[in-house]
């Protein structure tokens, strides 16, 4: 391979650091007006009256939309839609949009809109809210009985607060109409989803909606669903017959795009004295809104991980008067892993077995749920390599047994797993006679390096250098691709790029057979490189691609290709795996925890671009440090309101919180998952980190903290 597997800097890096890369709010649109969202100050009830008269008088104000004069959605689903009626279903709900000549004018006038409410009693505590059943997996074996009969049992409850994605770039849209045709710049992880949503909402044809989102300043799931602002923006633009821009403030983001749900998990494990798991009952409750069910099945996480004959995963949703949660990096898995991987650690101490050894004892050689083999699973190698690099064998088993001066030292481990998914994806490659190629797919690049990796794959199989490839994404005019989420983009769109390039080679090969004496050569034995199609076995068989095109009066070859997950995948379970080894140092007097070292070894198929791959893994680890020690959206339940809604109160790690972080890949050669052997990694890298940190904190201090984040007050 010339490019695949080798380090490559981001093809969009220069554009990003020089400001040429345009994010949704940055597009210059003539005659644009600015919308500012007014939010409710109660959590539940209805709007009794809304007075916009004072706001309307202010200079620059064009129009104020409320539920009384707003555009109503043509198509209704459960997702929240702004200004549809007088009902208030969460605190911070949009109740008006002030549109003015400038952002400042709109923001000022927005503060003069006065609403009166008919208040109703609200409930925002997950612990107290009514629940509905949302069970995912089936009961395996007879967990209750097996638990009763187990020689050793543990039972513990784990709580994870609401967390918000907090990407750097606030969500924004600029919408404009041309007759019945809508164009919108949006921050999106899937332009086709936004297109479908807007077409249905306005009752117009899908092809009449154009969504453009070439660069996304982080999203992490916060832009997977269309959110309420694109419709609100487009509706305002249609009414005032001018382009309108709406940009969330940081505070508005907290109620504007969903969040990781508040989760309470109870884990009961039964095991034999030699550490063999007998039964796991992993119950979970996650909060959702009153109007929409969001289900992420956190307790599904452990089902494929451990060889345990009896397993149950009851799951309930608590209906709270809050906005609907959504997918947030490693949704379900990282929450489930915090519970299961902490509980396994607790069991290890109970059994006096090394926590890594306990995981090896219960290693699943095949999927315990289905009995299917794994298409590949190098987790054991991750254990070995990660442990060796970390120096795990020097760990003293007793809590509080390791020190560095006044610091207590703790070493913890945990395992992560995430599905190696692939979805149908389409791409168009246009190979030109001048040796350049245009590649397009309506996927997104929210930061992982999709621009770069698809460029590399196209360049590799078209036999041209990456500088000759121009890859476009984030535009509904491009061929269909799934949203960027679930860590399946490279497997899906990369497979399409690979397939399209091979088809182009096949077309050229057919020309070569007909016109240039390639008879007797098989297409598999040919390769494209440096402008030539040639046989790898027979030096005499070589022809310039430009000549092949010229001979056929072509200036370019266009290939539209859709890749599908193979049928063979159905015979296997395909997962990515990883092992985390964490060192913490704890100043017990002051409760301060430093994560001084993280070694992560992951098995995620074939690594396409080591540079961006390591970058993603490091990002996931830093995220895990935040989730374990800092992140928390606090709610004042008296008001049903989120209170830590800015980056001063909602903590994420600063540079000073991050010390040694090393990420290793154990490559797997898995051609069952897709021809290039690609698994995703953007979520896997995070999954085990919070548990590994909590386990390290226990090893350091003897304190088992089961409620995240592990703040100073919990250590004192």
């Amino acid at each position: 391979m010339r490019y695949i597997g080798k380090e490559m800097s981001r093809v969009d890096g220069v554009a990003k650091v020089t400001g040429q890369a345009k994010y949704a709010a940055e597009f210059q649109v003539k005659n644009v007006a600015y919308g500012f969202i007014v939010q409710s100050t109660i959590a539940k009830g209805s709007i009794k009256s809304i007075d916009t008269s004072e706001a309307e008088k202010q200079s620059g104000v064009i129009k104020i939309f409320t539920h009384l004069n707003s555009v109503k959605r043509k198509d209704k689903d459960d997702a929240f839609c702004a200004l549809q009626n007088e009902k208030i279903v969460f605190n911070g709900q949009p109740i008006a949009l002030v549109v003015a000549e400038s952002f400042e004018q709109a923001r000022f006038a927005a503060r003069l809109v006065k609403a009166e409410y008919l208040k109703e009693a609200h409930l925002t505590e997950t612990e107290k809210a009514p629940t509905v059943d949302s069970r995912g997996g089936k009961v395996r074996g007879n967990p209750k009985e097996a638990l009763q009969n187990a020689a050793v049992r543990i039972s513990a409850e784990y709580t994870i607060p609401i967390e918000h994605h907090n990407p750097m770039e606030p969500h924004a849209a600029i919408a404009m109409w041309d007759g019945d045709k809508l164009s919108i710049f949006d921050k999106s992880q899937g332009v086709k989803e936004v297109q479908r949503h807007l077409a249905k909402s306005f009752g117009i044809a899908t092809e009449n909606v154009s969504v453009v989102s070439p660069f996304v300043g982080g999203a992490f799931g916060a832009s997977l669903n269309p959110n309420y602002y694109p419709f609100l923006t487009a509706a305002a633009a249609r009414e005032i017959k001018r382009p309108v821009k709406v940009n969330y403030t940081r505070r508005q983001m907290f109620t504007g795009h969903g969040y990781r749900p508040y989760t309470i998990q109870k884990v009961q494990i039964g095991a034999s004295k030699d550490g063999k798991l007998q039964a796991i009952i992993h119950e979970a409750i996650g909060n959702t809104s009153t109007f929409e069910d969001f289900s992420e099945t956190p307790n599904g996480f452990g089902r494929t991980l451990y060889n345990c004959p009896n397993y149950d995963t009851p799951y309930k949703l608590a209906k709270t008067d809050l906005p609907t949660p959504t997918w947030m990096r490693a949704p379900g898995a990282v929450s489930g892993a915090f519970a299961i991987e902490s509980a396994i650690d607790e069991l290890a101490y109970e059994l006096k077995i090394d926590p890594l050894q306990l995981r090896i004892i219960n290693y699943a050689e095949k999927d315990p749920d289905t009995g299917k083999p794994f298409s590949s699973k190098a987790l054991m190698e991750c254990f070995k390599q990660g442990a060796a690099k970390f120096g795990w064998e020097k760990r003293k088993p007793e809590p509080r047994s390791m020190r560095d001066g006044k610091w207590l030292v703790g070493w913890g481990t945990a395992t992560g797993t995430w599905g190696a998914m692939q979805l149908p994806a389409s791409i168009r490659i246009t190979l030109k006679a001048d040796g350049t190629a245009n590649v397009g797919s309506a996927t997104a690049d929210i930061g992982p390096g999709t621009y770069t990796v698809i460029t590399m794959i196209a360049a590799e199989f078209l036999g041209i250098s990456p500088e000759k490839v121009k890859f476009e994404l984030g535009d509904t005019k491009l061929p269909n691709a799934p949203v960027q989420g679930g860590s399946f983009t490279t497997a899906s769109v990369g497979s399409a790029a690979h397939g399209a390039a091979l088809n182009i080679k096949k077309k050229l090969f057919d020309f070569a057979v007909r016109d240039f004496g390639f008879a007797g050569v098989s297409v598999e034995d040919t390769e494209m490189a440096k402008g030539f199609l040639f046989s790898k076995k027979d030096n005499s068989k070589s022809v310039a691609i430009a000549d092949l095109m010229k001979k056929n009066n072509l200036t370019e070859i266009v290939e539209n290709y859709t890749s599908m997950p193979s049928k063979e995948r159905n015979n296997y379970t395909s997962m990515a795996h990883g092992a985390q080894f964490v060192e913490v140092k704890v100043d017990e007097d002051l409760g301060i925890i430093k994560v001084t070292k993280v070694i992560e070894a992951t098995a995620v198929g074939k690594i396409m671009n080591p540079k961006t791959s390591h970058s993603q893994e490091m990002g996931g680890i830093v995220w895990g440090i935040g989730m374990a020690l800092q992140e928390q959206t606090e709610i004042d339940h008296r008001y049903g309101k989120m209170m830590t809604t800015n980056l001063a109160d909602y903590h994420i790690p600063s540079n000073a919180d991050v010390h040694t972080v090393e990420t290793d890949f154990i490559e797997e050669d898995d051609k069952i998952i897709n021809p290039l052997g690609i698994k995703g990694m953007g979520e896997l890298c995070l999954v085990g980190i919070p548990a590994a940190i909590a386990n390290a904190v226990f090893h350091a201090t003897g304190k088992r903290i089961r409620t995240l984040p592990i703040t100073i007050d919990k250590i004192l």
Binding site: M643, N646, A656, L716
Partner: protein, 330 residues
């Protein structure tokens, strides 16, 4: 942000006149706090008088101590040789606060005047006596993990956020101010900020239009034995849960002189007078530090979510004194 008038003052007299003539006018220096507050609709000045062109950015020695211009930047102050050599406690405290970018903009005078970060103060939909007198205190029964354990009132439990001011309190600084008539006065640091009592809307004892011109730190012998300890929820860019500025002057192991001030515990920098009194003349031992810390913290009145601050405060006092005494060997 509400519409406001912006004026650039050419001298201190004009600036103080402009602000004292309009009860809703404010001085604008680094702007690192007031602009945020205006965007949040918390501060609603009708006029901003930009004082950044006034020549008040000197840092110079004065009577063996140092005079810090009100408009000197926090970064320049923290890094100034006079400060680093003679008052390293102040350097440490400044550098423990905010971020490099903010310290580059923030001025010394502005630092003293920053307002509480209580989330209820910042959220205009919430009751807050400090923001809107007599609207109530939502923090009292609300999320009050960050709030005061000393000196709070039924009206307000907010804490004062500055790190710099905690060191200045320990160093017995004074604040020089000038009013619209050109009259100057000097305020002892302990009298500069207020406890909330019945009027939490007033953070300081400045009158409207009074301009801080400089902060004076008198000569002392603490340079060799001082430490600023800040305990917070992350390693950088977070407000203190508890902070302690500790300074010792010893004769052998005997304490001749000691200063202890705390941040994150009250509506103003909290001088631990009780602890100081107990330590003078005693041996600088951990046992004595502990005894003094306990004496100080026994008067704390914690709230529902900040009980941990009492124990943390004790330990932080002991640690800060030990660090001041013994450095990294502590």
């Amino acid at each position: 942000m509400r519409p406001f008038k912006y004026e650039r003052a050419t001298d201190a007299a004009a600036a103080t006149k402009a602000v004292s003539a309009n009860s809703s006018a404010k001085f604008l220096a680094g702007g690192t706090n007031i602009l945020d507050l205006m965007k949040e609709d918390v501060e609603r000045p009708t006029a901003l008088i930009d004082i950044t062109r006034l020549s008040l950015s000197q840092i110079r020695s004065a009577n063996g101590g140092v005079s810090l211009g009100a408009l000197a930047k926090n970064t320049d102050t923290a890094n100034h040789p006079l400060v680093r050599q003679n008052f390293p406690l102040l350097s440490m405290a400044i550098l423990a606060g905010a971020s490099g970018q903010i310290r580059n903009m923030a001025t010394n005078g502005g630092n003293l005047l920053q307002r509480t970060r209580c989330p209820y103060f910042y959220d205009v939909a919430m009751p807050c006596n400090k923001r809107e007198p007599n609207s109530g205190c939502a923090a009292m029964e609300g999320l009050n993990r960050m709030h005061a354990i000393f000196g709070w009132s039924e009206k307000c439990i907010a804490v004062y956020p500055s790190d710099m001011a905690v060191a200045l309190a320990a160093l017995d600084a004074t604040v020089k101010v000038q009013d619209a008539n050109g009259k100057e006065r000097t305020i002892n640091f302990g009298d500069f900020h207020r406890l909330p009592e019945n009027s939490p809307e007033k953070d300081t004892n400045l009158t409207n239009g009074e301009l801080i011109t400089s902060i004076e730190i008198p000569k002392n012998n603490f340079a060799g034995k001082s430490y600023y300890l800040k305990v917070r929820d992350r390693a950088s860019y977070a407000f203190a849960l508890v902070s302690v500025a500790a300074a010792l002057e010893t004769n052998g192991n005997k304490i001749k002189n000691v200063r202890i001030a705390m941040g994150g515990v009250a509506h103003k920098p909290w001088r631990a007078m009780e602890a100081e009194k107990m330590l003078v003349g005693k041996e600088a031992t951990e046992a004595n530090f502990k005894m003094a810390a306990e004496a100080e913290m026994k008067n704390a009145k914690p709230l529902e979510h900040n009980k941990f601050k009492v124990e943390l405060g004790k330990r932080a006092i002991v640690r800060a004194l030990s660090m001041a005494m013994n450095g990294d060997k502590a």
